[in-house]
Amino acid sequence: MSSRVCKTCGGSDIDVDQARGSAVCTGCGSVLEDNIIVSEVQFVEGSGGVSSAVGQFVSADGPVKAPLLGSGFHTSVGKESRAQTLQSGKRQIQQLGSQLQLNQHCLDTAFNFFKLVVSKHLTRGRKTEHVIAACLYLVCRTEGTPHMLLDLSDLLQVNVYILGKTFLLLARELCINAPAIDPCLYIPRFAHMLEFGMKTHEVSMTALRLVQRMKRDWMHTGRRPSGLCGAALLVAARMHKFRRSVRDVISVVKVCQTTLRKRLTEFEDTPTSQLTIDEFMKVDLEQECDPPSFTAGQHKAKMQQLEQELARKLDEVEGEISCYKDEIETELEKSRPKLRGIYAAYSKEINPEDDEVLSSLSEHEEVEDTDFHATTEHLTQDFLSQVIQEEKGQGRKTVNDDVRVQEEGPEEEVEPQEEAGPQHQVAPLAIILGNLPSAASLSLQETFQTFDKAEAGGSPDDEQSESGELDLNGIDDQEIDKYILNDKEVQVKTELWMKQNAEYLQEQKEKEERINKEKEQGTYKEKKKKTYKKREQIQASTASEAIEKMLEKKKISSKINYDVLRDLNCGTGSPSRSSDEPPNTTTSQKRLNRRRCRKSSEANQDLAANTCIMGKRFRRLISSTPKKKKLASSVENTVTMATAAAAEPADSDTHSTPQAAPNPVEVEEEEEEVEVEEECVSALQLVGDYGCEVEEEDVF
């Protein structure tokens, strides 16, 4: 405080007494200041000896205008809804942020994000908790603090994926590009938690090197950074001769054992793991590895391929064995002694069958059995010949020839086609099926054809879908019948179902009984479904009319500059209309609302109705802003006029009766009292009362 000069004597020695709040010149004794505003805190003793500070807390970013004492009551005391939201949000941010040990700058940034979110209406339908957490995490990411989403979800006991969803949405809507998480950020934090004492720094550095190596080996993409850190720290700890078990690490890092073990095994697979500790600290290998999931996938593919090859080779070997078997059998036959006499007759019967079975192909009358045999043989021989072909190429036709010698009949047709044709396995099947004259193949082909037809019949459906007709093209009715159970099955199923769902059915019955009982008693209250009344369309001929109507329908905000609005409406509004209200107490109020009276009672009725509706709001307006009374009332009038013009009498009737009854009009007075008027008696009556009294001069 600059010492001033006394006006009377010119002395600069001024004594400021804080207690009395006065500044006195010590030279001449003249009082320079009285009632100095002090910025000290004063204490007052309350009941029970409790001393409390005197004064009110005023928030830095609260409502722009302070609530005026003695007047001005909105529905929410002191503040608007938006300000309240922001205030509670700020409080929650402070609370949560302090638990995370974030500094004030971060908390302020988080609050700014929150303000943005609220202004973009992104809080609708979301829990404030989630939104706050997402804002905080956004700040953590942009600042690069070592906080994980998991920490936040731990504090709030919320599923981390839900938080993540909210976070992603906010980041997208606010166009904030959060930089990607670097696992290196977490190392110091986890190292500290693992308590390495003096060597924490060294262990961290080693772990950092490990993480960087992992990054280059493509172990980090798509993985949680905490898992990598855990693995790196474990290895680093061991390198520095600290005994940290897997369990210690996972309790700090918050991943599970399996994950950690997997990371370690993956790291083991990289060439870096082969280096010794010293080598690792000095040398950096050039080679980079593939991502582990890719190598795993490739491994699987290789295994599958190997298996296939093995199977093929087995078949091949089997084929060869059967060849040899056949040859041996034929040789044996030849060398078997011929039976003479009666036995010859018997053997002849047996022999043909044996021959058939052995030779494994024939042209039989009985189609099914031999067809089966034939097809199986076909397939194995096909496999064989294919494999042989693939491996030894066209040159090795001798084997094929051998195979062919054993076969007769229809196969010969098949073979030449095969050798020339494609290597696909589907083709031989088709060929076989085509050649074999069996009923099975015929019906199979039929179904294939119907299937093709069905797909082709898709396009004519477009026209039919308009009419809703069902196109039956390609739908096999028989097959669909299979989907429907017959009567007996239905019975069985009904029984089963009833048994299974007995509880549910019981519940339903009880509920119905309950409802019926309540209906009888007359206490049945149907659970009202929340039906949102459809907003009426505003019928207006000009833009200004529309604005007025909108104003009347919506809650009127104190932030609208009525000056400007009035100027906009100067075309339509004429400031003198009568409006009625229930009997007032203060003359000032009366003067406010007196207008020249209207001619038609109908119009009065309208007005009455409208003012009843809006009386509440206009009272507020009028009394809260004494300077703006004129404006408010003029707005009111223009609005009422507009509504009167637009609304039909019938409409207003319905309005007035419900509105008249429960309309407690608040009469605000200068002394801050609120007088609640019980029931506007009836609009017409009121108007009647005032019809003659209104003829008074305007006070303004």
Partner: protein, 187 residues
């Protein structure tokens, strides 16, 4: 077109979701009791019916709205839907087949190279997002096609879109961007 030199990329459609309406009220209990391959869920209020021929699963609501999932092509979805409607018709409901619409198509595709997700996200900032704590893949959303591509670091892609054409276009659009951030595989 694909800007690939040797092979064309195989885009395999694995799932097609379609909806249609029967324009009539359905009694779920009747369907549940008289149909095979049917699961009734009274708490939710729907019936699940599975068809074998085009392998699809349909959710049937009593209002007559039906959602078909599991088909491998758009035509198959339509065929399955019609089969289903025919089945319901046979059960005795006055079914009309209307408002058939394919709602979602899911396809997978595999790139012959690995992708550096962090670079990819950095280059395509607002469109691509990558959150390793939540999901191992980077998500790339193409707004005008209404398609979403999930990119994994191994180079495999999962694409979802409103129809097969969009899905193919999405892959074609994304290919050059992925190609930039590739990492040739060692083996």
């Amino acid at each position: 077109m694909d800007s690939s030199n040797d092979e064309a990329l195989d885009i395999i459609v694995t799932n097609v979701v379609a909806t249609f309406r029967t324009r009539c009220h359905l009694n779920l209990r009747t369907i549940a009791l008289e149909g095979t391959n049917v699961i009734y869920k009274p708490e939710v209020g729907k019936v699940l019916m599975k068809l074998r021929k085009p392998k699809i699963t349909a959710s049937i609501w009593s209002s007559g709205k039906i959602i078909c999932t599991g088909a491998t092509s758009e035509d198959e979805a339509k065929l399955g839907a019609r089969r289903l409607a025919r089945c319901l018709q046979k059960l005795g409901f006055k079914v009309r087949f209307s408002a058939f619409k394919v709602v979602n198509v899911l396809a997978v595709c595999s790139m012959p190279f690995a992708i550096h997700l962090i670079d990819f996200t950095k280059n395509n900032r607002p469109i691509a997002s990558y959150e390793p704590e939540l999901h191992p893949a980077a998500t790339y959303r193409i707004k005008h096609l209404k398609a979403t591509i999930q990119v994994f670091s191994t180079g495999s892609l999962t694409v979802t879109g409103p129809n097969v054409q969009n899905v193919a276009t999405a892959v074609e659009q994304a290919y050059p961007l992925l190609f930039e951030c590739r990492k040739p595989l060692c083996k």
